[in-house]
């Protein structure tokens, strides 16, 4: 009960600045906390507002969804966390319909980075990440289609997990791209990340896993070095050295994998929202409405080729996992940009800021690989993270390496 009251007090004190929450559930949280029991007893948590919460409308960051009826039931992941004693305290801000990497939302305002409120928190699960980074909750849930857990985890300097595609139930959450959507947790410690994941998943438990003896760990070069600012890449390299990972590998087809994810995202999201694009385009977020329209007009041949390239790319990466067990890569090319910033430079190349924050995460989620995102340091006072990547269903390896990194 004390932790829940501290969390509610922290939200009251800080959220007028950070703007992480779109709903705070004080009555529900206190009622749940009174009867909480289990391995996560009394731990407050928040969820991105695309998760169904009983008696609350699932906004998914939109104005349009305000017209939907309140959800009849919590999403299964909320049910599992509460069955383990955790206490839901609120719903968090996000990019509209998860289409963005910055949580600059015109309807609900931008979520601000707790390390510097002039900068974005990352997205699209920016409210969840900022709530954890600001100490308002120790645990939060988000979704990751192209990097929406890993980008904000990196920008906010906290732990994040994008499990293998299909690992965690997506029922009763608002979709973005069915072929690519994942759900997962953020936490202020690796231990809580592991324990919360364990109560949501049905596989081998990862909490307490340690030891990297015999693991072949490599740093991703090539595409991942070329698309990262030198100071950020240097932090990933230093983390790799701590793990005694001296080998550098190139993830074959990463650029094509990223392109496939981009094309699949454009097409599926445009098609998903086509009915409302026809009826009420003026009600969409101005930052995405024309992107959605363009996606809806895309030829089917591009989408189908992108899906086949995904298969081709998957096979190449599986061949690489014959030679290494875990791959390390920076999570974002740079630290968080300023709110409203339209472009940034990577190794001297100027590019649009909002879509390119996901340059390093898209090639990984395109083929559903599990990733723990670990904080590895700061550049110009802002945090950046590193992806710890393994083959499908090998979250255990991600956690072993993360634990080792945390110890050094």
């Amino acid at each position: 009960m004390e932790a829940v009251e501290r969390s509610l007090a922290a939200i009251r004190a800080q959220d007028s600045t950070i703007n992480a929450f779109t709903a705070v559930l004080e009555d529900r949280a206190r009622a749940t906390a009174r009867n909480a029991s289990g391995p996560l007893k009394g731990i407050p948590f928040a969820v991105k507002n695309l998760f169904d919460i009983r008696n609350l409308t699932t906004l998914a960051g939109s104005r349009i969804n305000r017209d939907l009826p309140p959800a009849a039931r919590d999403s299964p992941l909320i049910e599992k966390l509460e069955a383990a004693g955790a206490v839901l305290v609120g719903a968090t801000n996000m990019d509209e319909y998860a289409y963005g990497f910055s949580t600059e939302n015109s309807h609900y305002g931008p979520t601000r980075n707790p390390h510097n409120p002039e900068h974005v928190a990352g997205g699209s699960s920016g409210g969840s990440a900022a709530a954890v980074a600001a100490g308002m909750v120790p645990l939060a849930l988000g979704s990751d289609t192209n990097g929406s857990i890993r980008v904000p985890a990196s920008f906010c300097g906290i732990w994040g997990l994008k499990p293998t595609f299909g690992r965690l139930a997506r029922e009763r959450t608002f979709p973005f791209v069915n072929a690519l959507d994942h759900l997962g947790p953020f936490a202020d410690t690796l231990d809580l990340l592991a324990r919360s994941y364990d109560v949501m998943q049905d596989g081998e438990k990862v909490a307490g896993m340690k030891g990297t003896n015999g693991l072949r760990i490599a740093l991703a070069g090539g595409y991942f070095e070329e698309n990262t600012e030198p100071e950020v890449y240097a932090l990933a390299k230093r983390a790799a050295e701590k793990l005694q990972a001296t080998q550098t590998v190139e993830i074959p087809g990463a650029a094509q994998g990223r392109a496939a994810a981009f094309v699949i995202t454009a097409s599926e999201s445009g098609q998903l929202h086509l009915p409302n694009l026809r009826r009420r385009p003026q009600d969409f977020e101005p930052l995405i409405v024309e992107r959605l329209m363009a996606g809806a007009l895309m030829p089917a041949a591009w989408y189908l080729q992108a899906q086949r390239v995904r298969r081709w790319y998957y096979r190449q990466v599986m061949n690489l996992f014959e030679k290494v067990d875990v791959i390390l890569a920076p999570a974002t090319p740079r630290p968080a940009q300023r709110i409203g910033q339209e472009s940034f430079a990577i190794r001297g190349r100027e590019m649009p800021a909002r879509p390119n924050a996901g340059l390093l995460t898209q090639p990984i989620s395109c083929i559903g690989l599990p990733v723990v995102c670990a904080p590895v340091g700061k550049v110009e006072g802002l945090p950046v993270g590193m992806q710890i990547i393994a083959a499908p269903w090998r979250e255990d390896l991600c956690f072993r390496v993360a634990h080792e990194l945390e110890q050094r």
Binding site: T164, F165, G166, R167, A179, D202, G203, G253, A255, Q256, A259, A260, F262, V263, I264, A266, L274, L277, R278, P281, V289, E290, R291, M293, A294, G295, A296, L297, M298, W302, L304, Q305, A306, Q307, R308, V309, R310, R311, W312, Y314, I367, G368, P392, W393
Partner: protein, 57 residues
Amino acid sequence: MIRKEEVPGLAAMVGLSIEEKRIPSVLANLQRIEQVAQAVNAVELGPEVELGPEWRP
């Protein structure tokens, strides 16, 4: 690249009516997708390559 005059026809095929003021931005986004799709379309695939994999626990 896709041209401005092609946008209304593409939109009509999916039952979408796009206001004139939005067309330059929709075109720019479509051309961006087209540019990225070139990297995908350039991959030569044999007929045996199926659509992307799905994983289930």
